[in-house]
Symmetry: C2
Subunit: 417 residues, 2 copies
């Protein structure tokens, strides 16, 4: 009951509306950007995940076109999203938001929603929204009626004259970019949408402006982080993919067959820490009940190195893979598992070696189906200390590359350090 353990909550009913009816013409690609795949998962699923993580957001209403309704239902099911409901989008962003608000406002006895006190409006294509900024806009909305995230302008804003020449340029210090999320007292924004003109519904873009114009509510502006940016162009998809890859590569867990392997493992651990600064590397034996490992999996570690010394025994590996499968962790992100074999190449007959290689390939193909990327790595052993260190350094470089790239084209390969 310590105060510091109490999670900050806004203390009122909160729902969210995500307009996702866009058709992605800016991207120059046929797929609407909210459905573009990043690590094989649609962008909108990342945004939903970010919203769901926030336990005090009770309902999340997504507005999608009728054509995409089924696609969206499939996404919700496949990625096990909770608290998400769908409404049909309108032809403009404002009409889509209005549809979402209407669904939340329905006070009928059979309605699945209860009208929230505050509603968050967020874009389906801003996947990196944090609880922190959501709490800030909701709290500010409770006090001011409306609130929105802002960011400094990157470019100067100018106004062209009718002949395509510069008319005037705006003072950058006095202007700012309006971003998402925004939050409103439900009654304020709903009233604004009900009052607002068809022209506004067609051509307007700014919800804060509707609250100002129709309800005389001056929105509080809240400084947001750079990660709030809107995925708009193809380059933004590239950026989002790199950010996601970086985020799931912050932790590596080394598991070993038996306690006796500790010596090799601690050297490898050292090398990995050197290779990957800012990455947390832990190690533990697999042979016990696996509680520590369960904990690591619970804490959403997406990178495993499974060490075997002088054997090609796949039992430990199988156990790890089973635990990962049961955890359902790989539903959201691909998990990297690198099987490291310390082995004397020369004493292993070639036939046996190829057999083991084939086994890794088959296993890799199998677990790819549940989004686990499996690779093999051979480290020559025994070697003189200095040479072994060099091999381990090389091994760490290879493991780092596999984790960083998360490339499914190389699964099942047996690399040599």
């Amino acid at each position: 009951y310590s105060l510091s353990l109490a999670r900050a909550e806004p203390g009122c009913g909160v729902a969210a509306v995500l307009p996702a009816g866009g058709c992605g013409e800016r991207m120059g690609v046929p797929t609407p950007k909210q459905f573009c795949l990043i690590l094989e998962r649609p962008l909108i699923s990342y945004t939903l995940q970010a919203m769901e993580r926030v336990c005090w957001i009770k309902d999340i209403v997504v507005a999608v076109t009728r054509e995409n309704m089924e696609v969206m239902e499939g996404i919700i099911q496949r990625y096990q999203h909770k608290r998400v409901s769908l409404v049909e989008s309108g032809v403009t962003r404002h009409r889509s938001i209005f549809n979402g608000l209407k669904a939340l406002a329905e006070e009928e006895s059979n309605s699945k929603f209860s009208k929230p006190e505050v509603v968050i409006i967020h874009d389906a294509v801003r996947p990196f929204v944090e609880e922190d900024v959501l709490l800030k806009v909701v709290t500010a909305a409770k006090e001011h009626g409306a609130a929105g995230a802002i960011r400094p302008l990157v470019s100067t804003v100018i106004s062209p004259s009718a002949d395509g020449c510069l008319d005037y340029s705006l003072e950058r210090a006095r202007h700012t970019a309006s971003e998402m999320p925004q939050a409103f007292l439900f009654d304020v924004i709903y009233e604004a949408y009900q009052q607002c003109s068809d022209y506004d519904l067609e051509f307007g873009t700014e919800c804060l402006q509707l609250a100002l114009k129709y309800c005389h509510t001056k929105a509080k502006l809240v400084e947001g982080s750079p990660d709030l940016w809107k995925v708009t162009y193809k380059r933004d998809l590239y950026a989002a993919e790199s950010i996601i890859k970086e985020r799931i590569s912050q932790q590596i867990c080394i598991v070993m067959d038996t306690k006796e392997d500790e010596e090799h493992v601690s050297l490898l651990e050292e090398m990995l820490k050197n290779e990957l600064k800012h990455v947390s590397v832990t190690s533990m034996p697999l042979c016990y009940a696996g509680r520590d490992l369960q904990q690591v999996i619970l804490e959403q570690c997406y990178n495993f190195v499974c060490v075997h010394v002088m054997n090609f025994d796949f039992q430990g590996t199988q156990k790890l893979l089973s635990m990962l499968e049961e955890s359902h962790l790989s539903i959201l992100y691909p998990i990297v598992v690198v099987l490291v074999h310390f082995i004397d190449y020369n004493s292993v007959p070639f036939g046996e070696k190829m057999e083991n290689l084939m086994h890794i390939r088959e296993l890799a193909k199998e677990v790819k189906k549940i989004n686990i990327l499996l690779y093999g790595l051979l480290i020559y052993y025994p070697q003189a200390d200095l040479k072994l260190q060099e091999s381990l350094r090389q091994g760490a470089t290879i493991i780092a590359a596999l984790i960083k790239e998360r490339n499914s084209g190389l699964i099942g390969q047996l690399l040599v350090a």
Copy 2:
């Protein structure tokens, strides 16, 4: 003398000034963003390369801080930039540009510059500028005195009141983002800088505004492409890296030892085309004088697949690597070379196999020094048709992965398809 072959040129003396004195505080990293590495090369070098490609830009003046002068000289030397001169930057962007203009204006007999009719101003952190838009702004500047690239606004622009609340929001349709490049009649922009107030030099951001305010020159606005964006945040570096990798992965050249290998090669070529849509794949024998290959290298192909059938002969590979080294192509971008060996694993003694593996690793380490990334790929042969096809498909997937990621952690590895 066909008209259609004449390259479009503005037909006047053109120079460029690139302010690069920034200290990168927005990025949240210690390195100023123009010096951040992408594929191990500083961002500013990509921008200089983009400007140099345009033959009618006679001088490129870069303004850098005194502390970075030596770093910048190193970059110019290492990446063999031509027509680039350095001046010291000022404490603000405007002062840096002014310093660049002053250098170009010096009419002394020993000056290395001749005063240009038109000057382009461009950011060091916009590496993807195309000749097309440069020509447009220069041509428009000749006619109007000033011109600049614009892009549609991505976010709504608002103005906060003193208490951090929304004062008003701007109509998005009537405003636009001012981007770079811009171009000016030299006398117009130089006059503007000479006239302009200290306040403008300190706090102004927009060159077009100076031309308007001090020379009554209304700049022509020219629609730019999305790629003109400014690398501002860490995510922009990620995006730039992905764009660069994509651009140098548009062409693959398969070279073969002897004409007799054509059959295998054409199957592999087919598979690669299937795997990598929109990528041009060509093939040619290495055994002749190598003229075709010279042509491919001249056209800046950065991806080579070197096929050997039933032998571990490295002569052909050596020849290709020598040609690549002589071309200096890899000064600007890493070149990927995949050595594909069609081989019967079972009939090759294990010792020989490990020896060859070691040879590839040594070779890879060697050519990494000149920015060539070498990988090995084994394809089992002979196999029944269907099985061989499956191996080739797998091989194409692996080659595609290696080219796409260009990961130096995996060089020297012998992959198996």
